[in-house]
Subunit: 320 residues, 2 copies
């Protein structure tokens, strides 16, 4: 009989979430451990292994698990490595053969990819992209991540790092400094932090009245902007329009590249709903070549956000 379960692991800078998942995308059980309490990758792998074993063996058996899929920063799918992951206490300035270390420890096959690609796999396996072979997921969180699927597979490129669409250059002159070291990147505008930056810029350079003026400038978050916009605040609505317009312009360029059936939006900023979706779709269509106008779907993720990272990672393991 086919093994009925997979394990999905989402490794973040402070926490690693672990879930056991069935083929319909139900997270049957989950747990989490700290990911920042050691400087040694060997120690973290050992802790992670123990946690996976405890989770699985509580109600199931390791022999029922097909494999383990892991989403992690700076993960290389081809090599199963985590490379120079400066945001992980045990990851900086080295190439860690993470997949192999996990397999050695737990005796199951392991696939590794970055969290944005994992989101694409999750969407294809359980979510809004079921049945699609060509689509792009855009994760709008602290940064802007992307996973590109072509012909039913994630696009990894020559070195395993394809799909960094948060770092296309949207503003070529006097663009905002991005965390990657470049200026003018999409991520510097269309992420949650980008929205907060836009708010601060608008508050500093205009005198438009706004609910946001009640909040200390440095404390403003994208959530504040959303809440103000929901209350009808014009400046807050303008901020989402600006953000959506830039995203739509970027999406039009993505379409000429891979001609996807759909672009799927995921992450915290999508809570803004129509405030974001409307300007995105309008701007994308305005910037598309005529043959693609009104033909590319823009959809919200169908994965429950609390489970999404685990589901995405777990999707990888069905390929094993």
């Amino acid at each position: 009989m086919e093994k009925p379960y997979v394990v999905g692991i989402d490794i973040g800078a402070t926490t690693a979430k672990i879930g056991i998942v069935d083929a319909r995308g139900n997270v049957l059980d989950q747990t989490a451990i700290r990911s920042n309490d050691t400087a040694k990758s060997e120690e973290f792998v050992s802790n992670l292994c123990d946690a996976v074993k405890r989770l699985v063996e509580k109600s199931y058996s390791l022999s029922d698990v097909r494999g383990i899929g892991i989403g992690a920063p700076n993960a290389n799918y081809y090599n199963g490595t985590i490379e120079n992951a400066v945001n992980l206490t045990w990851g900086g300035q080295q190439v860690i053969p993470f997949a192999q270390m996990m397999t050695d420890c737990i005796g199951l096959p392991v696939r590794l990819t970055n969290d944005a690609n994992a989101a694409a796999v999750g969407e294809m396996t359980y979510g809004a992209a079921r049945g699609m072979k060509n689509f792009i997921t855009i994760t709008l969180g602290t940064g802007v991540g992307s996973g590109i699927v072509v012909n039913g597979g994630v696009l990894y490129g020559h070195d395993g790092f394809a799909g960094e669409l948060g770092h296309v250059t949207m503003v070529r002159h006097n663009g905002r400094l991005c965390g990657c070291g470049k200026t003018g990147c999409l991520e510097a505008y269309a992420s949650a932090t980008g929205v907060a930056r836009t708010a601060r810029e608008k508050l500093e350079t205009t005198v438009t009245p706004s609910l946001l003026r009640n909040i200390p400038l440095e404390d403003i978050t994208s959530k504040d902007v959303f809440e103000a916009a929901v209350q009808g605040d014009e400046l807050a609505k303008e901020i989402f329009e600006f953000t959506g317009k830039m995203l739509g312009e970027a999406f039009a360029d993505f379409v000429v590249f891979s001609s996807p059936e759909a672009i799927i939006l995921f992450g915290g900023l999508t809570k803004a709903g129509d405030l974001l979706m409307k300007p995105v779709v309008q701007s994308m269509n305005q910037n598309l070549m005529p043959m693609w106008r009104n033909k590319i779907k823009v959809l919200f993720s169908q994965l429950k956000e609390s489970d999404a990272a685990i589901l995405g990672a777990s999707g990888l393991a069905w390929e094993l």
Copy 2:
């Protein structure tokens, strides 16, 4: 025994070139017919079939031919159709099942793609991309075409029309009008006609002395700009630097998408050699994320230009 030959056909607006090709990329014999002397696709297909038969049967036999690869404007690889090809006298406002019509006529399997994708296949089969699985070809001719190869196959996307990189938006405000109807497209700047437009703009908006001032403004071509640059003309050199800079900026965005091993330049404008290559490489590296800097090859095509279109199309037929 494997059939040793393929036929490559390049359909342009005025001429269709036909060649018989061996596995090493030798064009053993070739011919051409007019492509604009009829308004009926049936008549053109019939003429083309006759020409292929005559060419092959002069020295070989149709039974030695594995198949036919065709590069044509507005060709859809998935369906084998030519769709709304307004530049072809027999192509506008209709979907022509061209591959099937050819097969019915000649009894050989037929694959169809657009000329820019055919160039990518040619480069992978016989040229600078042999052995590569992830690369992009950029054709710098009257327009800017592109063929994107991922995992060893051309990227066609959901509808068969992926890879229109000439139409990414490079100038978002007051950009030049492009033939596609949009403004600010790469093609409006980095094509041969784009170079001529840049020359006219610079001549009109500056008083810099230049050899180009000896030519009537409307007659200036990219060839004139090249010849002036070779003679050390500063304005002409500036034009290539501007063109190369914009191409490099675009290439940096292409890299974040598909992380190619190489970007391969093809087409008339590549005759400019280092005048173009140096600013392209410099600008691309300046705009790349640190992890890709100085790692992406930019190469000139290795296909002989006179044979390239036939070779590219013929490469498709080896898949048959």
